[in-house]
Point group: C2
Chain length 264, copies 2
């Protein structure tokens, strides 16, 4: 590849990395109704019978300048990746904050950035609430592995209160590999990795070393996985009163995202 081909390739790759495919009639309609959401393509099954909600979806997509494509049922299934629930409709949204973690790593928005990393958040409401709080708070992005967490579905979109479409979501294939890259590939800075655990001796109020921070949030029942725990510099607890054993994981995420805001 010559230089301009390569630049074009990277720009195209980055564009496609930003696409989030949402399926199902109501979820697609609601996504299209969000202000500020850009739409690349609307995909419809040729076999759809006409329905008022489809007319509304098509007119909203066209108003946003999207291409409208018709497919046979099999091709649509390949796009939605969920033929049981797509109801003959899928849409590719352009999410400005959606991308690969390597792009973030190559060009972080600030030196001492802070990330959340999700290691098995299986409850869609928790995932949506985490995205909402991270987007509103002082978090530069969410490291979201492609496997092991709740899928981006209508419940996640609803719990995120629309922030899903603008939050900085950094996709990775494998969380442990991505965390190792953050530990090894930041030339000018240290990246501290903390796993959250109710049982940890080290408390969040204790002073943290300088550098960028990644806070790993584990599964609702089992906590941070063994493989990821071993990569953490420290496990951190949030001190609790009255013998309460744990906090909701979305609450924990929110406390991390707003800890400097609340201190004033």
């Amino acid at each position: 590849m010559n230089k301009s081909d390569s630049a074009e390739y990277l720009a195209r790759k980055r564009f496609f990395d930003q696409l989030l495919t949402v399926y199902g009639r109501k979820p697609v309609l609601e996504a299209l109704q969000e202000k500020g959401v850009k739409v690349h393509r609307l995909h419809l099954a040729e076999s759809n019978k006409s329905a008022p909600i489809l007319d509304e979806i098509i007119s909203l997509a066209e108003a946003k300048g999207a291409e409208v494509l018709y497919h046979d049922r099999k091709a649509l299934s390949r796009i939605s990746k969920n033929s049981k629930q797509d109801q003959g409709v899928a849409v590719d949204l352009v999410c400005a904050g959606y991308g690969e973690y390597k792009d973030f790593l190559a060009n972080p928005p600030r030196k001492n950035f802070e990330l959340l990393a999700l290691d098995g958040i299986t409850n869609p409401q928790n995932l949506g609430m985490i995205i909402r709080s991270a987007c509103a708070g002082e978090i530069d992005g969410i490291l979201l592995p492609k496997q092991g967490n709740a899928k981006i579905d209508p419940l996640v979109i609803k719990a995120s209160a629309g922030t899903l479409f603008k939050a900085r979501l950094l996709r990775c294939d494998n969380l442990a590999e991505a965390l190792k890259d953050f530990q090894n590939e930041l030339p000018d800075n240290q990246c501290n990795i903390y796993g959250l655990s109710s049982h940890a001796d080290y408390k969040i109020g204790d002073s943290l070393p300088q550098g960028a921070n990644i806070f790993v949030l584990g599964n609702e029942t089992d906590g941070v996985s063994k493989e990821v725990s071993q990569l953490c510099d420290k496990m951190l607890a949030i001190p609790m009163n009255n013998g309460v054993e744990s906090l909701n994981v979305a609450v924990t995420a929110s406390l991390l995202a707003f800890r400097k805001v609340m201190a004033g």
Copy 2:
């Protein structure tokens, strides 16, 4: 009433104020399975057919030293106050933290106490999460009006992760009246009342005046009611990034409960 009659009356009143009636077979079973929950009475409908879950409920209640009473269907409805969902079972739990706000007002646990006040939290999951975070954090109690918020039901119990049975819940008939009492009846201290609102100019990181604090959390859609807003000394916002319009109300409650813990 002579002095000892009156003392006995007050002790009895305080005991009955602590009772929380839970109904329905699964909720009752789960409540009885919570460690540390004391049980006053188990109420059963005489018309119940025998069932393994009832045997389990009865044996757990007896193990906790509860009185087991049988009633006709009508009498049981009066106890559960929900004949459609009680499934012939109700239990009176003794919740040490459950009581009337006037008792708290007469004898606050510390001078600069902090309370949450709930003004129309209708989503049971939000209510449960608020109770969980308040109990774990630095909150001395939750002012909970008898009307206008979600009823204490199985969803609330579940989202509270068992903390419902030990949290300090201060019941009141009318929130505005209770807030006025806090403003007027604390002889030695000032009580500041803050309503949370995304639109407020005053930010949570700004310094708050000395005194006890009550933070009012409003309805998920409409915010703090007009009547209660007028009693607030100030409306407070939590600053947010990326144009996010609001936080989940249980997240807001958690940030307030932990703001000093997180600052270290």
